[in-house]
């Protein structure tokens, strides 16, 4: 029972990271109907930039916002410069572009930072607090949960309660109608990609202490994040969070009770199961739209 609690908690904190990746994928999918396969690589790259700051003696609290800010810029750049020219073509074109960005960034990271595994620091201790004899939660896990929750809440508030958020939702749901109403849809899509990439970069810097820093270090995290996004319905931010947390807890159980090598397989099993039972995911609104 004691073990169960700590396994659940570490599953939730890992799940928050998948949730952040899923959220970034969902925001981009909603806005441009593109799955951004470069999201993991973009997060890896911005984490390397943060790492460079640390290497040069900068504090974690300088490196952390730098990762998020460079994510913002990188997201805007990828949309405006690389994806925009193919946005009106067949959907596959944009997907191929994001795959190209993925490969390019991994290559560039290898070139600039080398292919070694580097250890990345956590800003807080990884040691669990003990409640009597029960090992519970570590300060770093609390930081992970709180920072993702905060970013998700800020994004939610921005989308739901501000004028620019309303414009972004309108542009995402119905670009043509939004344009008729004077919304500069192109700008809103760029902003959407930028904000999504912030969530991705957050996942990158939070997961780096546990998976080490390496040009391929986000590949597995991306797959889990993608799975979480699909479980949640791919166009629902709430679904992304729920999917991420659910998947995180499940994977944590599998790893502790059945063996770590079964993790990826069980994620696949969940994905297939959900797609069979509810092809649109748990929280998608797409079905109602097509009526």
């Amino acid at each position: 029972m004691d073990r169960f609690l700590s396994v659940t908690i570490s599953g939730l904190s890992g799940g928050m990271i998948y949730a952040a990746v899923a959220l970034s994928l969902v925001l981009i999918w909603r806005a441009t109907r593109v799955v951004n396969f470069a999201q993991g690589a973009m997060a890896m790259f911005t984490t390397y930039l943060a790492f460079t700051v640390l290497e040069h003696g900068g504090s974690y609290w300088v490196a952390f916002p730098i990762a998020l800010l460079t994510g913002l810029v990188l997201g805007a750049f990828v949309e405006r410069v690389l994806v925009r020219p193919v946005e009106n073509g067949p959907p596959l074109n944009a997907v191929v572009v994001t795959l190209g960005v993925f490969i390019f960034l991994q290559g560039l990271a290898g070139l600039l930072f080398g292919g070694r595994f580097r250890s990345f620091p956590a800003p807080f201790s990884n040691k669990n607090y003990n409640l009597g004899n029960v090992s519970t939660v570590s300060p770093f896990e609390i930081f992970i949960v709180l920072s993702v929750a905060l970013v998700a809440a800020l994004l939610f508030a921005l989308f739901q309660y501000t004028d620019v958020g309303l414009r972004m939702r309108a542009a995402a749901f119905s670009g043509e109608v939004a344009r008729m109403l004077g919304v500069r849809v192109g700008r809103m899509l760029t902003l959407g990609w930028a904000l999504a990439a912030v969530a991705g970069s957050l996942a990158g810097i939070l997961v780096a202490p546990s998976v080490f820093l390496h040009p391929n270090n986000m590949d597995g995290v991306f797959v889990f994040g993608f799975t979480a996004a699909v479980i949640g319905g791919l166009d629902s931010p709430v679904g992304a969070i729920v999917g991420g947390l659910g998947l995180g807890v499940l994977l944590s159980y599998v790893a502790s009770y059945a063996g770590g090598d079964l993790q990826t397989l069980s994620a696949l099993a969940v994905l297939v199961f959900i797609l069979m039972v509810k092809p649109n995911g748990l929280f998608s609104t797409t079905a109602t739209r097509r009526v």
Partner: protein, 244 residues
């Protein structure tokens, strides 16, 4: 409500040509709509009515011609710029954004304007104009009936305080009673505020009942342009293009 001189703007379409690849959708269309009046554009499916609207609002880039709003050429401008020149398009009823609430749809219509206080005022005016919307402010637009959606699309365009309104098939899918209500309201807006309206309709009879002038399109060309009574009385025209 504002006076006519403040609101109305004339719409002058001169020799507009629009092509999709090799297909010529508009073949030199000229239409003149005096400020504060309603001109109905009629024609069968494929006559070029939608192409005309999309070319005017900027969703489609026309090839040549002129589109003058109060003498100012908006030809070839992007839709978001055309709106800011005072010409708003009301997409057909399904053009409300289903995932947004009624209130969000309405507010969206005015967001490009910098005068925040007047934006809020315009939204309240839309509610006053359409009481059914007032009772459903927080509902998602997807829960509305066809008539309510049409009201929402119309109200949303009015929040931009346009001087020229482009109406796309407002009667589409609506019961005759609701259609009559909407048409009556458009007429009232013209009379009371001096709004200029280009009304594109397949339902020729109801469009002609409120219009000051009628234009019949066929294969991208204006085949008739006259006052509504004359058009409605022309048997050949009715049988060939208007279907009533």
């Amino acid at each position: 409500m504002r006076s006519m001189s403040e609101r109305g703007a004339s719409l002058e379409v001169v020799d507009l040509v629009t092509t999709y690849g090799a297909v010529q959708a508009l073949n030199g269309v000229s239409i003149s709509v005096p400020a504060g009046s309603i001109t109905a554009v009629l024609g069968a499916n494929g006559a070029g009515k939608s192409s005309l609207l999309r070319s005017l609002s900027g969703l489609v880039k026309p090839k040549s011609g002129k589109v003058l709003v109060d003498g100012q050429d908006v030809f070839g401008m992007a839709p978001e710029d055309v709106v800011q020149r005072g010409m708003s398009q009301v997409p057909e009823g399904r053009g409300v954004i289903a995932e947004l609430t009624v209130d969000e749809n309405l507010r969206l219509g005015g967001l490009w304007r910098s005068d925040k206080a007047d934006r809020a005022k315009a939204v309240e005016e839309a509610y006053a104009l359409f009481p059914p919307l007032d009772q459903r402010r927080k509902r998602l637009a997807m829960t509305l009936s066809g008539g309510e959606r049409q009201m929402l699309a119309l109200g949303r365009a009015l929040v931009a305080r346009p001087r020229v309104l482009l109406l796309d098939e407002p009667s589409l899918g609506l019961a005759p009673r609701i259609t009559a209500q909407i048409m009556g309201l458009v007429r009232r807006l013209c009379d009371e505020t001096g709004l200029t309206v280009l009304l594109v309709e397949q339902n020729a009879r109801s469009a002609l009942s409120v219009a000051d002038h009628g234009v019949v399109l066929n294969l991208g060309t204006v085949v008739a342009s006259d006052d509504p009574a004359t058009l409605a009385a022309d048997d050949n025209l009715r049988h060939a293009y208007l279907g009533f």
